[in-house]
């Protein structure tokens, strides 16, 4: 009797220890670092963070990126998921190809796009062959903020849409076919079926995908770093710069706390906004 009562605790034990040691402990340490200065409790690190030249810019850039990339990724992933669902042949192969970018690390993805978009990259080579430009064109410099931003968005779309896709496909497979068939009998066209049946039933998956993707998007760093260097400051990039370049881990920790607070707030918004009543699900 007592063994079976203990068993659940034993089973979650290792995971709990793991989380405590590698997540909670560093989190507590980071909070302590952020709120101390010269050994005393203080908000000096946050004051320094807010007063920094790049602070406003990195907030603006990070939000701009998240607000552009996430809706695009959601639409793209939905379209791709519906397409894959409809495929009769070669479905696995298509899915496999679509999720290849998941295997590439952030930095590698950034470097791939760098090799495409830099002065002497593939993109300029193609433009040159087509006779559209007659020399290297700069797309990623501080003088071309728009094309730099577009470049970062493209790289992020390529790199991270697949994770949304995988979650949505898993969700789609849980929706019983009978609903769509019944709707079809009553004369609903494809768009109506998608809007009235698929989307509402997919809401829990969309919620998970959005939470996961948004939290990761607020942590965007390596892709931006590879493509823009210091030309497009983002929050985590600033944390990195304060930790390594400026060797001030207090301010770096303050940035980390800020990123965490923003991510938590975004998660709460999603949980409230996309709440589903259990009785509306099959």
């Amino acid at each position: 009797m007592s063994r079976s009562r203990l068993l659940p605790y034993l089973l979650i034990g290792p995971a709990t220890v793991f989380l405590l040691a590698l997540f909670v402990a560093p989190l507590v340490q980071t909070i302590a670092l952020a709120f101390t200065h010269d050994g005393a409790a203080s908000l000096a690190n946050f004051a320094k963070m807010v007063g920094d030249l790049n602070f406003g810019l990195s907030i603006r850039n990070t939000f701009l990126l998240v607000l552009t990339v996430i809706p695009l990724q959601l639409c793209l992933a939905l379209a791709m998921a519906m397409m894959v669902q409809k495929l009769e042949k070669g479905r696995d192969l298509v899915l496999w190809i679509l999720i290849i970018p998941l295997g590439a690390s952030d930095l590698a993805a950034g470097l791939v796009w760098l090799s495409i978009l830099q002065d002497r990259g593939y993109f300029n080579t193609v433009l040159n062959m087509l006779g559209l430009v007659d020399g290297p064109v700069n797309w990623l410099s501080y003088e071309t903020p728009v094309s730099l931003f577009v470049g970062v968005v493209l790289a992020e779309l390529w790199r991270a849409t697949a994770i949304v896709l995988v979650i949505l496909i898993a969700g789609l497979q849980l929706i019983p076919k009978e609903y769509a068939e019944a709707a079809e009998i009553f004369g609903a066209d494809a768009w109506t079926r998608f809007r009235r049946i698929t989307l509402p039933l997919l809401k829990p998956s969309i919620q998970s995908a959005l939470i996961l993707r948004t939290v990761l998007a607020f942590e965007v760093f390596a892709v931006v770093y590879a493509l823009s260097g210091r030309n497009f400051p983002v929050l985590v990039g600033e944390a990195y710069a304060w930790q390594h370049g400026n060797q001030n881990n207090g301010v770096a920790a303050a940035y980390a706390i800020l990123v965490m607070a923003i991510s938590l707030a975004a998660t709460v918004v999603y949980i409230k906004a996309l709440a589903t009543r259990p009785e509306t699900q099959p």
Binding site: N138, S141, Y142, G229, N231, H244, G245, N246, Q247, N248
Partner: protein, 426 residues
């Protein structure tokens, strides 16, 4: 040393498990000479005559710091000696990662290490915290085909900043290329350009004159110059790469970061000092030092290795093989390889310039060195790249600079006038 032994030593460094068994080994952790070819030369040539087995391990500056701190906090030392730049060794004083090496002072001085350099090695304490190891500086290099565009009457060996601008402008007018480059990338050493070259040349100071009228005029002039600078400069870390790729024709950088280009094609380049302005031709000697870790597993080996590295013949070998220059009295041989010779010439012309104005590395900033650099880079980013008003930016950044000075209580260093107490931004 056999391959197996080296493997074991490496395991000892990373795992800290085999240290007891490897007591005879001196583990030498360095932030310098990291590229594989350079590290190999250190192991096979420079350390060959060392008195005992030395394992040369390299680490980037940030992990270097982390590792030293981790070993200090854990109370378990695997590293006996360290080699790093002055600015990388400075934070180790506060974090107790260095032990005084006063026992080597007499020997180093007798070999001819200059007193000013020995004083840097005290890192603001009363003891010798590191022994100078090797030195370098920053120079300019240009591809020879750029010389045809030099403005009339300009001598490449005694350029002014105004002439450098005219030169870059002439190249842009004739070829359509912005051919001047600076290492303004995230890992580039642009802060040193402002601290050791631009500010001293225009204002005769670095900290005290930070927001002076001369500084205001200087930033205006530099912004004009930047119109002819390759915009990719914001991502250049090492200027040897854009030079070799032909993206830029004229570049400023640390000698070690120009070396590959010069060594690959010594006949294609000229080297010359950085430009001058109203107050002279600023230049900054860079010093790397050798220190011993507290509770070093092999302190005697570390001390003996430092002595070996200071020998004039070792120092000459360092120059010949690696392009770093002796800190002791030693005459460089005439038969240096072409690229190294170009470096030596560039350095000699810089040091020997009639209007040379020496600017020391920041002294006494301890762990605030990174934030000190940030002031200069932020000022540059705001004024030059983002078009912020010069006066307002200087005033705002001067406040940050003064806070750093007050917190560290660092007195002014050359070319600012030395004085008591924290250096003041006037």
């Amino acid at each position: 040393m056999t391959g197996l032994k080296r493997l074991l030593a490496a395991a000892a460094v990373s795992g800290a498990a085999l240290t007891g068994a490897m007591a005879q080994e001196t583990i030498f952790l360095s932030t310098q000479l990291r590229p594989v070819e350079e590290a190999t030369k250190v192991r096979q040539i420079i350390l060959k005559g060392a008195p005992g087995p030395v394992t040369f391990v390299v680490e980037e500056p940030s992990p270097f710091q982390t590792r030293m701190d981790a070993e200090t906090q854990a109370g378990k030392r695997t590293i006996s000696m360290v080699g790093a730049l002055h600015g990388e060794l400075a934070p180790l004083v506060a974090s107790k990662g260095l032990e005084p090496v006063d026992g080597l002072v007499a020997k180093a001085t007798a070999l001819g290490v200059p007193d000013a350099m020995m004083a840097l090695g005290k890192l603001g304490t009363n003891s010798q915290m590191y022994i100078p190891w090797m030195q370098a500086t920053y120079i300019m290099a240009a591809r020879k085909e750029a010389l045809q565009y030099l403005p009339a009457g300009a001598d490449v060996n005694s350029l002014t900043y105004a002439q450098l601008k005219d030169w870059a402008k002439a190249i842009q007018d004739k070829t359509g290329k912005r051919a001047l480059g600076f290492p303004a990338g995230p890992k580039g050493l642009l802060a040193r350009f402002f601290q050791g070259y631009l500010y001293p040349s225009y204002t005769g100071g670095v900290v005290a004159t930070f927001k002076s009228a001369e500084a205001e005029a200087m930033w205006g002039a530099f912004k004009d110059l930047w119109a002819h600078v390759n915009p990719n400069s914001a991502s250049y870390d090492f200027m040897q790469e854009p030079l070799m790729a032909g993206e830029v024709m004229i570049a400023f950088d640390h000698v070690a970061r120009l070396k590959d280009a010069l060594v690959a094609a010594p006949n294609d380049y000229v080297t010359f000092p950085a430009p001058s302005a109203g107050k002279g031709r600023g230049f900054m000697p860079v010093v790397a030092g050798l220190g011993v870790a507290p509770n070093a597993p092999n302190k005697a080996g570390a001390m003996a290795t430092i002595e070996h590295l200071l020998k004039p013949e070792t120092q000459i070998a360092m120059a010949r093989e690696l392009g770093f220059f002796p800190v002791v009295k030693a005459d460089l041989p005439a038969d240096l390889p072409g690229g190294i010779k170009l470096l030596v010439e560039g350095v000699a012309k810089t040091q020997g310039a009639k209007d040379a104005l020496v600017s020391l590395l920041p002294v006494g900033l301890g762990a605030k060195g990174g934030e000190f650099n940030k002031v200069y880079v932020d000022t540059f980013q705001a004024i030059v790249l983002r078009g912020a008003p010069i006066r307002a930016t200087l005033d705002a950044q001067a406040a940050t600079l003064q806070t750093i000075m007050n917190e560290t209580k660092a007195p002014c260093w050359a070319p600012d006038k030395p004085g008591d107490g924290a250096c003041k931004v006037n």
